[in-house]
Amino acid sequence: MNRWKGKLSGIVVLCFCLVLCTGAMVQAKEPLKIGFMGNLSSAPCLSSRGAAMMAVDEMNAAGGIDGRQVELIVEDTKGEIPKAVEIYKKLVMTDKVTAVVIAEKVEMAVAGMEIGAELFKEYPHIMFSTIGSGDVIWHHVRDNYDKYKFGFQTYYSVSTNYLNIWGKLNAELFTKLAGAKKMALIYEDMEWTKPLRKGLEGVSPPLKDVYKKLGLDVVYETTVSTDQKMFTSVFEEIAAMEADVIDATVGYIDEGALIKQWEQSSSRDLPFFIWGGLAGMPPAWKVTEGKCLGVMVGSSMVRVAISEKTIPFMDNLMTKYKVGPIFGSHTTYDTLYGFKKAVENAGGAGNIDALIKSLEKVEEVAVLGTIGWDPKLHYNLPYPKYITPVVQWQKEGDQGAMKVIFPPEFANSKYMSPKELRK
């Protein structure tokens, strides 16, 4: 009897082990789900979607993340916050994704972060914001880490780092390259320029004071609105104030009109630096009929190999996914690779707290240098880890070309004054 009992117990234990192993195997084969949400009628979101699809396809072809295939679930927010909140809930609660990528303006990511915080305990997950430089995401993490620790932000730079890092780099650019002493500042009336206009308490004074400390006297300062079409008066006043350089912290205003009117104003010979937007995209030359000649702009759309990933990323995105590598695409692609490495370092995506800790430590080769996140503030590691080159529109034959003038290690041309270039 006892022999039979022993045999039976052995069989039961064996079956139990078998069931467990099979379960584990099934679990191992389950795809790792990533949600992607954005306004799919806007160019940056479409470009970001292409980049996300490319990253996932490449990962799956190479065996997935930690042995699991990756499934990308794409959702269209149509640019509406209530819809975005519903989609976020659906992705986390119904689709049970491990990570949500919000490739849309920061306001949308903030809405997602709030609902994500409510869901986090029951549905642990990670949130990435990959478009927008606004400071709210990392402020949330800094001010209430336990509640918002699942939120990470990747962008070319967050507003704070524009002040802390790019302010100094720009000042160097203006003084060393353009020999400037007096400068004019143009801001656009948007949330991301607020820290630049007003400063951040306890973090940095306004951009004007940052420049002043570095020996540049701001003789003219104005804010333009996003629906403004006439900038002539701005440029005429800048010339009247005898500024040596114009620094335009803009990215969303009508840059076509801005550049055309600069070129036809008394300020046309002054070095003109634009922080981002249309001016840093290849069509800018055609759109402005070559009037952007001499304009300097922060642009990640220039074909310069910042890492071994840069050129293949640009080429594959264009040829296989039929979208241009505009803003949001690099950050989305790099975020997913950073996430992949963090999951693998954490030994899987099962323990989200361990994954968060892993994301706080991870560093991975990225299209624009190195991707990783600040362990306490959760924005991506800034320059010199993550690099947006400064380019200048110069002539190549009778066409215009974006030439890198900064940082020096990637420069393929030297700065020339607009007057020199027009000769």
Binding site: Q228, F231, S266
Partner: protein, 292 residues
Amino acid sequence: MLIYKLQSILVYAFIWGSIYLLISLGFSLICGVLRIFHLGYGVTFVVAAYGTWAFMNELHLGLWPAIGLMFVVQIAFALLIFYKGIFQRYLEQEEILLTLSMLIFLAVTHLANYVYPVTAGVYIPTTIIDGTFKIGKVRLSYQMLFAALTGIFVTFLFVWMFLKTRVGLIIRAMSQDIQASRLMGADVNMMYYLAMTLSVIPPTICVLMIAPFWSVDPFMGAPLLTTAMLVSILGGLGNLKGSIVASYMIGFVHAFISFFYVSRFMGFAALVITLLVMIFKRGGLYPGETIW
């Protein structure tokens, strides 16, 4: 500095005022003749820009043939879609007329954005003389001056036509009293066709003239429509004399605010001025029933 600012205000009030005149002339004409608040007017700017570009880019036409063909499309659009399609059918049902006109405008805008998004690099090479010159202490681009002079020239032609030709006389009569004009033998329908055709000319020329210093984008129609509406409301709906005065008045307000305060505030300032005028002078500056 004060003299420079005063000179700038005068010069730019003239330049911007003349351009605003070109923007709003067609809108005022439709208001005056057909008595319609044409919310689809913004389409004209989009068709002018993207029509020219499409013919140049897709059919590989030169600039002038593309502009010629675009004018044909523009007039056909105004007559067949707006006049025959909407105005004739819903002249008595204003809410339907307004809604449909607006929807067509939005549809064309979104179509332009779908076919030629900003990244397509649309431009119209209509620069006449590149470069700048100085009037006193104020620097001005030749193209802006040409755009302003074109505005004055087109307005002069319109005014001359209304005051000196038989067609102008009939249109003025119609703007006073349709039924009486009919009884006097005016071919009202034909005049409506003519007014619709004439109304697309100033905004089309405007887009061609301002393209070298303004941006061409699929949503360019909305701000231009707003300017046209503002000028027409301030001047007195459908009164060309009012539109001329209002254009320069808004040009002056914009220039004054830009040079003495901040350019971001100029749109708001023009709205406040219009509001004040409307409160104290009902119907705008020239609240007459006639077009002139």
